[in-house]
């Protein structure tokens, strides 16, 4: 920008463009004012935000297509990898204390109030007559976590039974669950909405989504399966855009702020698990720890998952196509 060097950086008001995945919206809309107050206090600079909330994949694609976001919060590490691939984000983005992750959650099962079908575990989803909801992993980042959880639980079960991570058994487990699918919506939110409007008996979704609804006064039972996956959602500065707009400093500060206690508490208010160990410790009673919880690494990391589960003719495809 012409004249950028004449004016001291602090004195100029800046605009930060934020592209986030939809589930994070409520929390972010509380965090942004907090950051603004903090930053004003610190530097005297006012930061105006332009926010966009879309499904994680959509957001990533928009940014690659030219949407000028400076900071992005996405559902999956994989989506940030796409940005790295497009040269928008430095490959070093996740070399920090939490590997670039800003929130955590786990995949749980939500049932109607009182859990009328007595659902306890993923296993129960295979029973005939149980109508199951999860979104479509093609379009929804949340759904990939859901499928990962079910598949992982299958692996865990096989491992407990005969000591090996039997992929065939896990796949069969996925097939059995999928047999009871009622609807695969386009996003986690849409799936949740359908559940709320009376469709299905059980929804597989983020823990924070259910907690947020319950906090709003909707009556659901949250069933935490003994073995499920730990969800981690990343944040990243879009280096190219931030540099071009000359808002590097504010962008970095905003990301930094997200790690702060203040922000993490706000996230927690909306049902997320903190990434900050001290805080996690403090809130341990609010978030049950499933005994057999596993992370994406149990499945071999995102690269492996992409190559086996969601590959072109991969396991998920075979489940869908009934092969």
């Amino acid at each position: 920008e012409p004249g950028a060097s004449d004016v001291p950086a602090e004195a100029r008001d800046v605009t930060l463009v934020l592209g986030a995945y939809s589930v994070a919206k409520d929390a972010l809309q509380e965090i942004i004012p907090a950051f603004n107050a903090y930053w004003k206090r610190e530097t005297g600079q006012t930061v105006a935000f332009q926010e966009s909330y879309e499904a994680s994949g959509t957001q990533a694609r928009s940014i690659i297509g030219g949407f000028d976001a400076d900071v992005t919060l996405l559902a999956l590490e994989g989506d940030v990898d796409k940005l790295v691939g497009a040269g928008l984000v430095s490959p070093e983005w996740n070399k920090d204390r939490t590997n670039g992750m800003i929130t955590r959650s786990i995949v749980v099962l939500g049932t109607r109030a009182g859990n009328p079908l007595g659902i306890r575990d993923f296993e129960d989803l295979t029973k005939p007559g149980v109508k199951v909801l999860y979104p479509n992993p093609k379009t929804s980042g949340g759904a990939q976590w859901d499928i990962n959880a079910i598949y992982g639980a299958g692996l865990k079960k096989a491992e407990l039974a005969n000591g090996t991570k039997d992929e065939a058994a896990a796949k069969q487990f996925l097939v059995d669950v999928h047999r009871n699918i009622e609807s695969m919506d386009k996003s986690g939110r849409a799936s949740m909405a359908a559940f709320e409007y009376g469709v299905g008996d059980v929804i597989v979704t983020y823990e924070n989504e259910l907690l947020a609804r319950i906090a709003q006064g909707v009556e659901y039972d949250v069933v935490v399966p003994p073995s499920t996956i730990l969800i981690e959602n990343p944040v990243a500065v879009i280096d190219r855009n931030a540099d071009r707009h000359g808002v590097r400093k504010a962008a970095d500060a905003f990301v930094e702020f997200l790690y702060s206690d203040e922000a993490q508490r706000l996230f927690a208010k909306h049902g997320f698990r903190p990434v900050n160990e001290a805080l996690a410790e403090e809130m341990a009673d609010r978030y049950p720890q499933p005994p057999e919880m596993f992370t994406i690494d149990y499945l071999g990391g995102w690269d492996e998952v992409r190559n086996t589960l969601y590959a072109k003719r991969g396991i998920w495809y075979q489940v869908l196509a009934g092969q």
């Binding site: 093609k138 379009t139 609807s183 409007y197 469709v199 196509a321």
Partner: protein, 268 residues
């Protein structure tokens, strides 16, 4: 005089340019995209069972929705133009509602009105079938969003129609029904067809309303536009555009045939 020529030449070129840039370019773009990695990739994306099943399902349901709309649309257009009854103007003004409603709201409406908790949904459930998240819901959504087309295409024709043809039929002994079928209907036919074409195309491509009320289960309730959306989101632009191209080509062939037949009939 020469000035007049220039004007008309300018108008022609502007309109044609607009048409080419706005309509033809993007469409060529879609074709270009789908073949951007060669014929093999294109073919592979289409021979994908999930893809062609979605296309088949979409075509089938869109056809059903179009036929339904041709029937109720023709009837409604007729009633709204030919009969005078209280509330006619209001009904006439409601026709375009499905367009004005965001398709997401349309989907939501269907969800709320036909879902398992609603009276209709409950009744259907008792009769042993589900509407929502199954094929009936898709058809209903398609019928809803394409409702105005046939009506709006037929109405002006009915208004412009010369009544003497109808009178001639009466004097030849044709009953009202026969006159309708043989004289009035053929006169409305261009409107019905052009409305139906639009409705069909739109139903083929409808996304917002359907995605909310269809189960999107591949092979069962996954329609093409949702499939396309999935492919886009999972970064398979070629797969998405390939299916699009298939639907487009199909639409184009139908439209062309209809136009051809109509032009042939008119000989001009």
């Amino acid at each position: 005089m020469l000035q007049g020529r220039w004007w008309s030449w300018g108008f022609r070129s502007t309109v044609m340019l607009y048409f080419i840039v706005l309509i033809i370019f993007p469409i060529i773009g879609i074709y270009g995209q789908s073949f951007s990695s060669g014929w093999a990739a294109f073919a592979e994306n289409l021979t994908e069972p999930l893809a062609w099943k979605a296309v088949l399902l979409t075509v089938k349901l869109a056809l059903i929705a179009t036929v339904v709309n041709m029937l109720i649309g023709t009837m409604s257009a007729w009633v709204l133009i030919r009969y005078r009854f209280p509330g006619r103007r209001l009904l006439n003004s409601l026709v375009d509602l499905p367009f004005a409603l965001p398709t997401a709201v349309a989907g939501l409406m269907i969800l709320l009105l036909l879902g398992p908790r609603s009276a209709v949904g409950g009744l259907a459930e008792q009769l042993g079938f589900t509407i929502l998240f199954h094929q009936p819901a898709i058809v209903i959504a398609m019928v809803f969003v394409t409702f105005p087309f046939v009506i709006r295409a037929v109405q002006p024709l009915l208004e412009e129609m010369d009544s003497s043809e109808e009178e001639a039929a009466y004097t030849l002994g044709a009953t009202k029904a026969a006159t309708f079928w043989k004289v009035i209907l053929p006169n409305m036919l261009p409107g019905i067809l052009s409305g139906a074409m639009l409705a069909f195309s739109r139903a083929l491509a409808e996304f917002g309303a359907v995605v909310l009320v269809a189960g999107n289960i591949p092979g069962k309730t996954l329609i093409a536009s949702v499939y396309i959306f999935g492919e886009i989101e999972s970064d398979n632009t070629i797969g998405a555009t390939a299916v699009s191209v298939l639907l487009l080509t199909f639409s184009f062939l139908i439209l062309w045939t209809v136009n051809y037949v109509q032009m042939r009939r008119k000989g001009g």
